[in-house]
Structure formats: structure tokens, C-alpha cells
Amino acid sequence: MDSPCDSVIGDRDLLTEILLRLPVKQVIQCKCVCKKWSSLISNTKFPYSHTCRLYHKYNNNPPPTALLVQNFADTKAQRASIVPLHANDNNDNKMFFHLDLDGCNYRSSIMHSCNGLLLWNVIPTSQPGPTSEDSRACHFRIHNPAMSDDHCVYLDYPVGDVDSPYGDDIFEPFELKAYLVFEPLKQPLSYKVILFGQMDPSVIYYRRRVEFKVLNPRIEIRLYSSETCGWSEVICNLPDGLRVTEGVYCNAAIHWFRLDHDNSLYFDTNRLCFDKLLAVPSVDDSCVKYFGECRGRLHLILSDTLEFDIWELEEDYSSWVARYRVNLNRMHDGESALWWNVSSNPFSVLSFVHRQEEEEENSMLVLFKDGKIMSYSLEDYGLRVLCKVYRDEVPRSIHQYFETLLCVGNS
């Protein structure tokens, strides 16, 4: 009897059905099986089908597969450490994402990670010596690090205000935050990049000693849309005293918590305007341990002690709900209980990953202490070291990463 193997691969639909059920990493490995498989996987419909299936499984809000940690102090490393979040992954072989930068004429950093795509800010360093003809000015790059660099999108900075008395022709804010808006399930694939630029410094020094705090620095918002292939300036209801600081992206909006005494607000990237965000009752700055997003919900963690509350904002933004009470005294490392004899919380919270009951893995907190990034399970109180950073200062740039096969660049 003829071996049925050939027939199974002969049927493209059957093979597609099997590959659709594999995780992203494995699908990429399968490109090496043979050229036919590589062509099937790279075919434009397959990545989209695969992503749809994956997202559908998690109700359109998949949990992150890893955290990307960038350390700006490390000048040589223009890359992000990948800290895997699955129980089975180990980070003994440290893995990194990095941009393929031509020579050392650029510095790069990740500004934002959205649904599997990374937004990098690439700035030429002022190196002495000749620059190659291909060298570009400041620009952004958007790419899926899981796929080849062919699919990278290059975005030049927008033009500065040509009418400005300062005569700028490039956009050069004192503070810049950039966000990528990418909703992978919409067809055709499109994306937006939103820039928040603080055009005045926060503080002006007079005669090198006297500090003047700039009360209302000029803020400019720029929007790039892949549909129009161009930058535009966003004119909207800028709140008074707005400063450009790290915001949290969630559901196509960027959120800032307690910008000043009781002003939390968010910027809606569809309506292109600001709105007030509901405050959590009776909170002061000393007890905010974490403000972040996971799977389409905003989370706030408040505490001074080893016991803290995790609050979640309702989907319609109508109220904050106390979701979990976590006691870090109940901790073990798989073998023995761990005790902390300090009354204040020695941990920094890097992330809160929320998982549903029916999912295999537990909800967890990603904590940092003594140069170690660890996961703390909210179900069984187990503490596991995910990766060692060998630095005492809390990593400043943390991004959630989602594996996907989708790209927005043309090959």
C-alpha cells in the first residue's frame, strides 16, 4: 500500500490546518522543513489566518509571551532582552531582539510594542568621520522581530513647524513619547504612529543657578497613518499643564495616571482628543506600585507594605474594581517558604499578567529585586526567577511582547 505521507503534504489545505495550530515559534522553524512549507507559511493569507485563530482563542486579547527589557545605561547594547513568561521557557540562553543597524552610527531604543510589532526610535550619533550616503536622519522603524528584516518599515521624523520663529525644519522635542497603534485583526492591515512632543524644556536655568519651572510647556502631537502615508499635526483639547511622560497604551488609547494631583487622563487615538480618566478613591503617590495594561484592561497596584491590592478598570471605564489582594509574605520558591523581614515592600512591580481560569497558566506578577526579574504566581504563591539582570536599578523600559506572524512592511 502506498505510504500516505506524500498525500498528507500534498493536500495544502490539510497541511495549513495543522500548521495553524502550532505556536508562532514553531511555525517559523517549519520554514526550514522544505521550500514548499516556507512558501506556504510566508503566503500573505497564512499569517493573518494564524493570528486570527490565536486571538480568537483568547477572546481577542492574548496574554503576552514575553517581556522586553531595555537598559539604557548599557550603551553598547542597543537591544532588548527577551524575558519569556511561559512556565516552560527558560532564559538560560539569553535572547535579544536588536535592530540591524548599519555600523555604529545610530542609537536605537524601543518606544512601544503593540500586538507583535515593535516601534524603534533610531537617532544618528554624531560620530566624527564620513557618513555613508545611505545614512538617514532621525527616524522610526516598525518591524516584527519574529520575521526577517525585509519587512521593516522606515518612517522619517515629521517636519517641524516651518512657521516657527525658531526656524526648525525637523521635529525636535525635548521629550518625546511615541506609540504604535496596530490592530491585527482588521483587514486590510493598517497602523498609526502617534508622537507626543514636549517642545519646551520642563525647567529653564537662569544664570546657571536659578531654576524656573516651565508651567505650560508647548506640546505637539503628530499622527502618522499608513492609510495616508503621511504625517499630520493633531490639534485638540490639550489639558493645561500637560507634560510628556510615559503613558500606558490600552485599547487604542494612551493613559496617564495622576499627571498632577488628581488628573488622570487618556488620549483616544480614534477620536484624537483627551478625556478624563476616573480616579481611584483615596490614593496618594506613595502607594502606587504599578500602572499598566494587560489584555485590554488597565491595572493599578497600590501598596506600601507586603500586602497590596490590584485594581482593574472596567471595560466601559465607569469604575475601578478591586480584583486581587496579594500578600507577598506567602511566597515559596518551590522548595521552601520565603520570608521577608522588612515591613516595606522591597519589590518593584514590572508587570501584571492576567490569565483566565480556563487557561493553563496562572495569573502572575513580574517582580524585580536585587538584579533579578521574577514571576510570582497568584494561584500557588510560587516565586520563580525568570532572568538575572545584574543591575540594581529597576529596569526602566519594559514592554509586553506578543509573538505574531504578521508584518506591515512589504518584502
Binding site: 505510504s3 495543522i18 495550530r21 522543513v33 512549507w37 526577517s148
Partner: protein, 166 residues
Amino acid sequence: MSGISDTERMITLKTVEGTLFDVKSSIAKDLKTVQAFIDDSDDDVTSPIPLPNVFTRELSRILDYLNNHHRFRSGIEKADEEMARYDAEFAKSMSHEELKALILAANYLNVKDLLEFLNQTVADVIQNKSVEFVRNFFGIENDYTPEEEEKLRNENEWAFNGVEQD
């Protein structure tokens, strides 16, 4: 069409080896290829329906699966657990060759739920296995040169981290 209710009618199927199987029409509905044949026929189908691509071993397994699943679905609440246990045993009872043969038969007969289950089973088998294992499982020859393969692996280094060595 006669007035006899569907659940009583029996359909006869004939495999490649000539073996005959009597199947309730309610089960035959899940064999969409067979059902299409029945629907297309003007008269009631009395003679055995030949299945030129399906062997006895496969048809027997498919009918076994369908009969059990029908039983689970029409039974009482606890069926989900039993069904899961049955499915696990069913998958384990087959060698890789048998699994592949069964997929082909289920594909030809268009048995949607079983096909879904078998595709998932194959995905589970090859999950976390090396590229070599996947090639062997499907009987595929590597048509990359060593240099091409090396280049592909280097480009996708991140994806190859942490794979089981078989």
C-alpha cells in the same frame, strides 16, 4: 421519499477491500461526502456505496469515533469528561502511520469534527519537536542546501531557542 424516519434507515458502505459496513443514517450524516452522494441520488440508495479511497481499518475507526461521540452527546451531563478520556485514548492508540492514514480518510469522507480533532492531535505530536522530526513524520525531503538552511536558521535564531532534542 418514503415516510420512514431517518433514524431507522441503514446505509451500507463498502471499503477498498470490499468489506461492508451498515451505518445508521444519523451517523452517515457526519460523513458529509457520503451524505452528499445520498442527497444527489434520485432514488433511495439501496446498494452499498463504494468508497474507493477508504480502507477497512480507517472506516472502522471513524465509525467507532462517531458512534461514541453520538452516544456521549445524547447522554447525561458527565459526558464531557468521558468524551475527553475517550479522545485521549483514541489518539494514543494509533501509530503515526495510522494517524496519517486516518486523516486522509477523514478528509476524503469530510468528517468535520474528527478532522478537527486529528489535525490538533498531529499538531500536538509535532509541537516542540525539531525540524528533522517534522520532516521524518511527514516523509519530506529537505530541498535546501546546507548553506541555505544555515542562513534560514541564523535569521530566525530566536525561534530555535529552547527546542527539544529528540
